[in-house]
């Protein structure tokens, strides 16, 4: 991604933040009908599922992660699909790869080395992920350390207390600092929407993060009890559209947590196309944070090619 395409951010516009109106029930109705309004079938479904892979930040965020395990994930991200399946679709082997591998700071170096020379990025969760309850200066140090280890993308968590107390200035300042510490690495801001008070706060926090210079806004850490839901996604996608219409800055969107089925991934893509247009379906503006999604897509793809249902052991594990 060229540096000039990044979100330059704006000043904090509190008047705008305070004039945001969100109606949950209407969003739920839209979220309920959208997957049915925009079914994608046959070859199109295959293409969309393959494309979903290109948007995946393949993620492992477990206490028992080891370099060996992370290495496997990195290799899977580079070659996510069996080459015979790709050939059958008349696609080159290097057409399809995940967008990045997403890990804790301690694993960043392993990933960076493993994906070196490939188009796959190295993504670090940061700033005291997932709760974010560490001192601010330590958060900045963590970002800088991950960037130094080779991270090209940093997923930060916002201080939920700033959002819950509507302290937009504090949120803005915090994210602006994170952005500065990122340097050339791209900044994704995790709102942890499952812990916010309302969809209105989701919209407000989205706007503040974008004003502060976030390259992406992201729904969840995957550790909250409620992860990425379509109504939340709609709110954030619409916030992105609004920000773009007002400032000309294109900010990406990353739903994360609980997206495990190929069908769900296609629905998220459909939502992006409907609300933001085809440009926002590309990996520079759309990511899916997921770990088990890839396995389901592989099986679905094989089903489409062979006509019978596939099994997990037929696909290389991560």
């Amino acid at each position: 991604m060229a540096a000039e395409s990044r979100n330059r951010g704006t000043t904090l516009d509190l008047e705008l933040i305070n004039s945001i109106h969100i109606n949950r029930s209407a969003l739920e109705r839209r979220a309920g009908s959208l997957p049915k309004r925009r079914a994608v079938k046959s070859d199109w479904q295959v293409a969309w599922m393959l494309h979903a892979i290109r948007c995946i930040d393949l993620t492992t965020l477990a206490g028992d992660d080891t370099p060996g395990r992370v290495l496997r994930i990195s290799q899977k991200a580079i070659r996510p699909i069996r080459s015979d399946l790709l050939s059958a679709l008349d696609l080159d082997v290097d057409t399809i790869h995940c967008a990045s591998v997403c890990v804790y700071h301690n694993m960043v170096e392993t990933v960076a080395k493993s994906v070196q020379g490939s188009p796959v990025g190295t993504c670090a969760v940061s700033t005291g992920f997932p709760a974010g309850h560490i001192p601010h200066h330590q958060k900045l140090e963590q970002i800088e350390a991950s960037v130094a280890d080779g991270a090209t993308e940093i997923d930060i968590v916002v201080s939920r207390s700033n959002v819950l107390r509507n302290d937009w200035q504090a949120l803005y300042d915090e994210v602006k600092d994170f952005r500065q510490s990122c340097g050339d690495a791209h900044l994704k801001t995790i709102l942890a929407t499952g812990e916010l008070a309302s969809l209105k706060q989701v919209a407000q926090a989205s706007q503040v993060c974008m004003m502060a210079g976030a390259d992406f806004i992201k729904t969840s850490t995957g550790k909250e009890s409620v992860n990425a839901t379509l109504p939340v996604g709609l709110v954030m996608a619409r916030a992105i559209r609004d920000f773009y219409e007002r400032t000309g800055n294109k900010v990406g969107f990353k739903p994360a947590g609980g997206i495990a089925k190929a069908k769900d991934a296609v629905t998220w893509l459909a939502m992006m196309k409907e609300e933001l247009g085809e440009e926002w379906m590309r990996p520079n503006l759309f990511r899916i944070g997921a770990s088990s999604l890839l396995g389901d897509i592989e099986r679905q793809l094989e089903f489409h090619l062979s006509g019978h249902y596939s099994a997990a052991n037929r696909h290389p594990m991560a």
Partner: protein, 783 residues
């Protein structure tokens, strides 16, 4: 297209629904379809039929029978024969049939959805996700009313044989709305689907057959408007229910006038969709998609009139246009299409003509560069701006995917614009501010108001209109009343006392020498007004002239309606206050009971005791309705939506009341007091023979704090001004307690006012139901 290319373009691609099973059904039953009469499939004697097409492709689906007189006769006769045993079967038995029908609809839901889409052209997504599930829900819900009929509606029975004529926009759903409540209450039916869309009704007939519904309980006859007229005008039909255009509704109103048939009409609309600056704009725009582009805008309650607050109008329209550009129009059998085909070329032309007129009148028409299929009957989503209430396209129902947009400055203007229509079917209000939303929702004169949502339907929330959108409700408890009648009073409803002949004025007045001459004038707007014509007439009793009253004419009616229309504040005066004023009227009346009793004696020849007892009864009657004023509660409906659906009993507005001769004071009170108690303004026409009991009330009213214009009284010779009252467009309803109800009904077509042929012995609740109509306010919620 190869996967490789799609990976680049990320196009949608087609998502076709299979029509395999629907084709099989059509092949098995077609190509020429019969009708379902008395449990048998029959073809018309005449051999007449017409063709039915798929509007999306122009393909012929089959030929449909045209029912003539003989078929309609045998269908009505079959329904009549089936009535005694069906209506006397226990509620539980009827419930089992309705339940079985609901189950069958669910089991065959995809077949029904596909047939409906092939026949009507609406997207399979809608028939599958909206029409058919609502049909099943409707039968389940009404299985419940059948089960609970005796315990919920004691004293009520079915109306009898119902003739039902339905439109083409929701063929199966409208059938369900008609048949389910009719059967639940024990009626039998003859139903005619619209000629463009007959086939799903035939599938339904097969379902009735398969569940063993007794022959004659449901009869489906097919045909065009001529067949419809044969049904609605049939002498052995007890009740007519019609959904369709206001134009045809008028014809039916006229045709059924004076026939004694029950009638409910669900007609056109031009429903407002109001967006305030504090709304969730993106959600409101998505709401508009459902409001006006659902079913290609061929929806009677379509939110076709956008009212958007001026402060956000520019941004709103920008967003709206980009949303419109994303709508996909095309083959309705594609599951991912937003808009399918218009039902018929004739309808498409009507839409086109209205759009052309809109442009000719200076409106700016905008359509996205949406690709339309080369074949078939399609029309793109359309937006009109730069229009005003004086534009034809803002007033006329288009019944197509055409939205007109106006702006407003504040909520008051929004309400005025919203109500500036002949119609009153529905409305939608978008605001995150609960005060704004509720205030506006209550102020729109329409039967269904959706707050931050639109086009929500449920079997348990009555649907129906105000004003020229018709009368009667479909769905829920309020809808059941359209298919029931009180059992005990059947004979009384026919025993209406006609107004007496005009009496000669040759008798000299025999005023009591001890009293000063009293000249009763009209009572209009809280003042005693001389009759416009300047004539006075004598009122005579058994022993000669007892007084004089003004001889009213149409100008007195005009003034009275004007006064009543100006008294609308009464409708929002709180019920406690209304009740207090009615009690006060009773109190003041009682103080003068001796005087009133003398007057009644003089007019009617009653002995003193009986006259006194009538006054006492009248006092009690005022007490009765004063007591009811704050007790006729609305309801909170249980529906499938997460939120509240508030059913409010709202006053009708301005009501004309024609009183009979019997018990001139007490009868007058029984008609006038419940209407006033419920917040209506009334133009009362007292008994022609015995009007003085009413005119004597002037002073009572004046001392009782009743606001000016709430009760207006016009005396005289009924035939000289009742026609003007019945035809007045400012009158919302007529209560006919004397004279020819058919003349009133015929005159009522000008604005489709509700007419009640008064049954003096009806229950209190019946009087209150006739004094009000139900508005359902849908309030979804969530944080």
């Amino acid at each position: 297209m190869a996967v490789k290319e799609i990976l680049e373009s990320l196009d949608w691609g087609p998502a076709p629904e299979s029509d395999k099973f629907a084709r099989e059904w059509l092949d098995q039953h077609g190509p020429s379809f019969g009708m379902y009469i008395n449990g048998k499939w029959v073809t018309p004697e005449s051999g007449e039929n017409f063709e039915s097409f798929n509007p999306a492709t122009g393909e012929l689906l089959g030929t449909i029978s045209q029912a003539g007189e003989s078929e309609v006769n045998s269908a009505v006769a079959a329904a009549r024969d089936a009535l005694p045993s069906w209506s006397s079967s226990p509620g539980h038995v009827r419930a089992r049939y309705l339940y079985a029908i609901a189950r069958q609809v669910q089991k065959h839901h995809r077949l029904l959805a596909v047939i409906e889409t092939l026949d009507n052209g609406k997207p399979i997504r809608e028939t599958r996700d909206a029409d058919v599930p609502l049909v099943a829900r409707h039968f389940y819900h009404h299985a419940g009313w059948a089960q609970l009929f005796d315990e919920t509606f004691p004293g009520f029975g079915p109306v009898g044989v119902c003739g039902q004529v339905i439109p083409w926009n929701f063929p199966l759903l409208m059938l369900a709305w008609k048949i389910a409540p009719a059967l639940a209450a024990g009626n039998t039916v003859v139903l005619k689907p619209a000629e463009f869309t007959s086939i799903s009704a035939l599938v339904f007939a097969e379902i009735c057959n398969s569940v063993g519904l007794p022959p004659g309980v449901v009869n489906i006859v097919t045909g065009d408007g001529k067949t419809g007229a044969l049904i609605t005008e049939h002498s052995d039909i007890d009740k007519v229910a019609f959904t369709g255009s206001t134009e045809v509704g008028r014809i039916i109103r006229k045709a059924t006038a004076g026939s004694g048939k029950g009638l409910t009409l669900e007609l056109g609309g031009k429903s407002p969709f109001i967006v305030f600056e504090d709304a969730d704009i993106d959600s409101a725009i998505e709401g508009l998609v459902n409001a006006i582009w659902f079913n290609q805008g061929q929806v009677c309650c379509a939110g076709s009139r956008l009212l958007v607050q001026e402060s956000i109008s520019e941004r709103f329209h920008e967003k709206l246009r980009s949303r419109m550009a994303k709508l996909r129009v095309g083959n309705p059998m594609n599951k991912a299409i937003d808009m399918g085909a218009i039902v018929d070329e004739s309808q498409r032309e009507t839409i086109e003509d209205l759009c052309k007129l809109g442009c000719d009148e200076g409106g700016d028409m905008w359509q996205p560069s949406t690709e339309l299929p080369e074949q078939g009957c399609f029309f793109p989503p359309t937006l009109f701006t730069n229009v005003s209430p004086s534009s034809t396209i803002v007033q006329e129902e288009v019944f197509g995917p055409v939205l007109v947009s106006l702006t407003f400055r504040n909520h008051k203007e929004a309400i005025s614009l919203a109500n500036n229509t002949r119609y009153g079917l529905a409305g939608s209000v978008w605001s995150q501010d609960i005060d704004t939303a509720l205030e506006v929702a209550r102020s729109i004169r329409a039967g269904a108001i959706w707050v931050n949502c639109t086009n929500q339907f449920d079997a348990n929330a009555g649907f129906g209109g105000y004003r020229e959108s018709g009368f009667g409700r479909e769905g829920g408890r309020e809808g059941m009343y359209a298919y029931m009648r009180p059992l005990s009073n059947e004979t009384n409803t026919e025993k209406m006392v006609d107004s007496g002949e005009q009496k000669s004025i040759s008798n000299p007045p025999t005023n009591d020498a001890e009293t000063v001459d009293r000249t009763a004038k009209m009572y209009i707007g809280g003042k005693q007004k001389r009759p416009d014509g300047g004539y006075t007439m004598d009122v005579t009793g058994p022993s000669g002239t007892v007084g004089q009253v003004g001889r009213g004419n149409r100008k007195d009616i005009r003034d009275a309606v004007e006064a009543a229309s100006g008294a609308t504040k009464w409708a929002t005066t709180n019920a406690h206050t209304r009740s207090q004023i009615l009690y006060y009227i009773a109190e003041n009346l009682e103080q003068r009971s001796a005087e009133f009793a003398r007057r009644i004696s003089a007019m009617t020849g009653l002995n003193t005791d009986d006259a006194e007892s009538e006054v006492a009864d009248a006092v009690s009657e005022w007490f009765r309705w004063a007591a009811w004023a704050d007790k006729y509660d609305g309801a909170v409906h249980e529906t499938t939506m997460h939120g509240l659906v508030l059913a409010l009993n709202e006053p009708l507005g301005v009501v004309g009341v024609i009183c009979g001769d019997e018990r001139p004071l007490c009868g007058f009170t029984r008609l006038v007091a419940p209407l006033i108690a419920m917040g209506n303004s009334v133009i009362a026409v007292p008994s022609q023979s015995n009007p003085l009991a009413a005119t004597d009330l002037y002073q009572v009213l004046e001392t009782s704090d009743l606001p000016d214009g709430v009760l207006n009284i016009v005396t005289g010779i009924h035939s000289e001004f009742v026609p003007a009252l019945s035809a007045h467009d400012g009158v919302d309803s007529m209560w006919v307690g004397a004279g020819d109800v058919d003349e009133v009904q015929i005159a009522s077509v000008s604005n489709m006012k509700r007419v009640w042929k008064v049954n003096m012995d009806a229950s209190g609740e019946e009087f209150l139901r006739q004094s009000t109509h139900v508005k359902n306010i849908w309030l979804p919620h969530g944080v």
